[in-house]
């Protein structure tokens, strides 16, 4: 949807956003809002199915290699996963708050909540970076490249240290990196969208009559949170 000014009167800050951002193929802001929402929900439905394929891969490998999954999840630090769960829930509250601020025309609250959402998203990736780098540094890679170092094996519970390292350990981590990686890409995209929203909010583009982008990005962000809600227990807790 074009965000350029057109039609109704002279473009500029003085024109209310609900006039500047009404696309010419919509009768009014209400039909524009409802159409955008439906389009976005269809996109979110396709995202659920997109991740569905990876959940199938997880389910099949877990059902057939139960002992491997039990063993492998000890390489993941549940505290890091729990911290990121809290961070993402916090960012979701902040995203929902930004929609509320936009609906009420609270400019300052909108800018602050958008910024907070971006910061928490960044924090999620920082935690993820520490997790990934710790694993890769210790040879916990995907597929056949997964060769755990003596150091990380020594950090496992004593009962597991007695067991031989499963030869297909990398299979679990292929699934782990694919699922968390695809989720991480969604977080990066979300951060880009929040930078864009912050720039537009700073320009004063949003008002109670026009907040479609704030709402749409927040809905996307909540879906990213929702996927993590499933990834956390399935990968870290088992």
């Amino acid at each position: 949807m074009s965000s350029h000014a057109h039609g109704h009167g002279a473009p500029g800050v003085a024109t209310p956003p609900e006039e500047r951002f009404l696309a010419h193929h919509f009768a009014d802001m209400e039909s524009q809002l409802q159409t955008s929402k439906l389009g976005l929900w269809l996109f979110l439905g396709s995202e659920v199915l997109f991740f569905g394929g990876l959940f199938v891969a997880y389910g099949v490998y877990r059902a057939n290699h139960h002992a491997l999954f039990q063993y492998a999840h000890h390489f993941l630090d549940w505290r890091m996963g729990a911290l990121n769960t809290v961070v993402l829930v916090g960012s979701s509250v902040s995203a929902a708050w930004s929609v509320r601020c936009a609906q009420l025309g609270q400019r300052r609250g909108l800018r602050l909540s958008l910024l907070l959402t971006l910061l928490l998203a960044g924090m999620f990736l920082v935690v993820k970076y520490f997790e990934y780098s710790h694993k890769l540094h210790n040879g916990i890679a995907w597929g056949a490249a997964c060769k755990p170092s003596a150091e990380i094996l020594a950090s496992l519970p004593p009962s597991l240290q007695a067991l031989p390292v499963p030869k297909d350990l990398g299979t679990f981590f292929s699934i782990y990196y694919l699922m968390t990686g695809l989720h991480g890409i969604h977080v990066v995209v979300g951060m880009g969208l929040y930078v864009w929203l912050i720039a537009r909010a700073g320009r004063g583009d949003f008002a109670p009559g026009y907040y479609v982008p704030v709402d749409a990005v927040a809905l996307y962000w909540h879906l990213v949170d929702m996927i993590w809600i499933f990834l956390f227990p399935l990968l870290y807790l088992i």
Binding site: G45, L49, A63
Partner: protein, 120 residues
Amino acid sequence: MIEHTPSSAASPEHGTHVMPPSVLLGTAAALMALTVITVASSRVDLGEWNVVVALAIASTKAALVALFFMHLKYENRFQLVVLVSAALFAALFVAFVMFDTIQYQPDIRAAETQAVPRGS
């Protein structure tokens, strides 16, 4: 920066639902509590039921996010139909592949361990 008049702030477009702070914070508190419960439940050995409990808690959390953060509770029902049907088809996908793999994997294992010649 031109701040708009409070009159436009007081009356958001009709058809929109502004979430009260109490609902947003209440939902967040419920999500945090469920995160603690899911971690605690994973410490108790329930065998195969651990994953069922974990998925039940995760589904509850996802429902809370959808209903309140994504304000589905207050939206046009069609939006709910889109999300629920996508989730149902994803569940159907997982369930049918699981039936299939559980059905055939023991045969594959048996064939592998006995090294049955092909075609027999």
